[in-house]
């Protein structure tokens, strides 16, 4: 099954779109061999991500099978996942490290 959205690794909870997707579009997504349709809530531009399952505030956001950041607010299935609702764990620790250095 091919799709306009790619799931990059095991346990990913986001999919990356390979063309601009308009709000309300149903996008087939294959997660761990099972394909289902997810209705996207906002416009998702090429290369951007949407959630393939509900992500609670503070939960790990997973792409390429690895943690790319933590949700800063609850994210619904089909919602645009980007800088407005995800923060880098790495960058947060970096800011902490700089404060400690000062």
């Amino acid at each position: 099954m091919v799709s306009k959205a790619l799931v990059m690794g095991p346990n990913d909870n986001v999919a990356t779109v390979i063309e601009d997707v308009e709000p309300g579009t149903s996008v087939p997504v294959t997660v761990e061999g099972k394909t289902r349709n997810i209705k996207v809530k906002q416009r998702i531009p090429f290369g951007h991500k949407f959630a393939v399952s509900k992500i609670s505030k503070g939960d790990k956001v997973i792409k390429y099978g690895e943690v790319i950041g933590l949700a800063t607010q609850p994210i619904e299935e089909g919602e645009h996942v980007h800088v407005q609702n995800v923060e880098s764990v790495y960058s947060k620790e970096l800011v902490q490290e700089r404060r400690e250095r000062k």
């Binding site: 990059m8 095991p10 290369g47 792409k63 690895e66 790319i68 996942v81 764990v89 790495y90």
Partner: protein, 386 residues
């Protein structure tokens, strides 16, 4: 899973049967070229190095020359030196001989000039060539392969399709019992904690952090914190949310296998599975380090396209950018852009890459080989005496 390779006396398996002429010093380059150009089937390495190297820098150059000679893609080698250089031809030849393959050396000063050295070199290669041409390919297991992973000239399609597709192939090679090497340590910054989590022992964890810290500190000493500038505004506009995601777009080409260890530049993996290699991400230096470490085949993912290859290891170019594939088809081997058109899954692309690796390992030439791209460059330890 198998391929057709050349079994060597030391038990390793080559995907090529090259005769290699190695110049040990810049002063011997022309004789090495003369000899190689006049004998069929000979590749050569020339470079601006070979004299005045100290300590670790000497070892980098020495290990590159020895590693190339020992690589199982090389059937036999001729080492050409001047005679008074800091990287002696005899020492290089003696080290290569430990791999039990035929190797000889000449020094231009001993032979009595360019013409005599060229003649002597050709005589030696004539004999080595007859011997090497009798080797035949035989069925070899995929577990005998050491695959090197490189990427360069990246664009948005690299992290989206080309690297994840190569990751699928890399995982299949590791599952088949083979070995994979991921270089480009500067590009681990931002994902070192994720790599460390996959390391099989504490020693490797420490090495991963120490390696990344080394580069971060070097740049910090210039007053710049490269970590704080990532991802760039352009990356964010393109959909990359965090530095972790950006770095993973590169290292995902190594798949999801556990990390067995972290190698020094040019170091041969001591076992099977996925290894990291400390190398700062310059394309040709990276390919050279991989071949010196014994990689018999290399994949190279690119978005913008590049012609580079290696004198001894086939380099398979893979792009996810269809326009680049159309524009630079003479430099590229595999187009994985069908994933972006929804015509193929990443899994299918990865399987296609694995198949090409097997076919190329069995003798099919890559574009870089056909067009004689045989670049060679060593990642120096220090370039200047201070």
């Amino acid at each position: 899973m198998s391929f057709q390779g050349f079994r060597r006396d030391d038990g390793t398996v080559g995907t090529r049967n090259h005769l290699l002429t190695i110049s040990t010093v810049v002063c011997a380059n022309q004789v090495a070229v003369n000899v190689a150009n006049n004998v069929e089937g000979v590749v050569h390495i020339t470079h601006p190095l070979g004299c005045g190297h100290l300590g670790a820098d000497f070892m980098r150059v020495f290990s590159a020359l020895v590693g190339f000679g020992r690589n199982p893609n090389v059937a036999a080698a001729l080492v050409v030196g001047l005679g008074c250089e800091n990287v002696p031809a005899k020492l290089v030849a003696d080290e290569i001989a430990k791999s039990k393959k035929p190797v000889q050396y000449i020094n231009i000063q001993d032979e009595g000039g360019t013409l005599k050295a060229t003649k002597r070199g050709m005589e030696i290669l004539l004999g080595l060539s007859e011997e090497a041409s009798e080797f035949e390919r035989e069925k070899c297991d995929l577990s005998e392969l050491i695959l090197g992973l490189e990427c360069g000239g990246s664009d948005a399609t690299s992290g989206l399709v080309a690297n994840p597709a190569v990751g699928v192939a890399a995982d299949m090679i590791v599952r088949a019992g083979g070995t994979v090497i991921l270089p480009e340590s500067t590009e681990w910054i931002g994902a070192e904690h994720l790599l460390a989590k996959r390391a099989i022992n504490e020693e490797t964890v420490k090495k991963i952090y120490a390696t990344v810290d080394k580069y971060i500190s070097k740049v910090l000493s210039l007053g710049i914190d490269i970590r704080g500038t990532q991802p760039t505004p352009g990356n964010i506009a393109g959909g990359i949310t965090t530095i972790e995601e950006k770095s993973l777009g590169n290292i995902c080409k190594a798949g999801h296998s556990p990390i067995q260890g972290l190698l020094e530049y040019e170091e041969k993996p001591p076992g099977k599975g996925l290894y990291l290699m400390d190398e700062p991400g310059l394309d040709v230096e990276s390919i050279t380090g991989l071949a010196a470490a014994g990689s018999q085949i290399i994949t190279f993912t690119t978005g913008l396209g590049t012609p580079v290859g290696s004198p001894i290891a086939p380099v398979i170019k893979i792009t996810g950018n269809h326009r680049t594939f159309e524009k630079m088809g003479d430099n590229l081997d595999i187009d994985v852009s069908p994933v972006l058109e929804g015509k193929e899954t990443l899994q299918q692309s990865g399987e296609r890459i694995l198949k090409e690796i097997q076919v190329v390992a069995s003798g099919k030439m890559t574009k870089a080989e056909i067009l004689k791209n045989r670049e060679f460059a060593v990642y120096r330890a220090y370039q200047y005496m201070v």
